[in-house]
Symmetry: C2
Subunit: 118 residues, 2 copies
């Protein structure tokens, strides 16, 4: 992930939704653990590629959001993959600290379970 | 994953978007490989939980879609996790055959890359 102005192959193929967003799955490279899903627009993807840290677009705050800005729990980008439909990203990272604001490593810490009484 | 009518803890907490959909990341349980992202509505999630195979909602065809129906490349569900915002699912599966219609194991087989000339 070089910090320069070189064009990025594949970026022009990406399809954004009607809000200009594309979902980005974040996975820890070393463990394979899926950490979170967030959304990027063109600008946050460009910043992610330029800086080697994840930037997202907050749908609730309607602004760019540098992951770990306040917590220090940044994500160092190893690579960005995209899917066969070019409408989803898979960002493989090294997670500093934990990914979830709850303090859990991954945002996916709860399971849908059949009730005990069934 | 039992095939009965027992209530599922957590299902009522889930948040669907304004189209009634929730994104579902599919990950191979054994390898940790992220295979695909697709969308579920309430009905496709219910069928997934009931049958132990993944069912999605096709946004283009506007219909329920049993994964692997024609190809035989079904996904046997090990567990369904949901995230801290309850607006994304992580479905861990055993993939029969390959996940992608291109014949690749994962839909994420391409990488955004800096151009060679840079």
């Amino acid at each position: 992930m070089r910090n320069d102005e070189t064009p990025v192959d594949g970026v022009d193929d990406l399809k954004y939704d009607d809000r200009g967003l594309i979902p980005a799955i974040v996975q820890e490279e070393s463990s394979g653990q899926v950490l979170m899903l967030a959304y990027m627009n063109r600008e946050s993807l460009a910043r992610t590629l330029e800086t080697g840290r994840t930037w997202f677009y907050s749908r609730s705050r309607q602004e760019l959001w540098p992951k770990g800005e306040t917590s220090g729990h940044v994500q160092r980008v190893a690579r960005v993959l995209y899917d066969c439909d070019a409408d989803t990203l898979l960002v493989q990272v090294e997670q500093v600290g934990v990914a979830c604001h709850t303090g859990e490593m991954s945002c996916f810490y709860r399971e849908l379970r059949r009730g005990e009484g069934g």
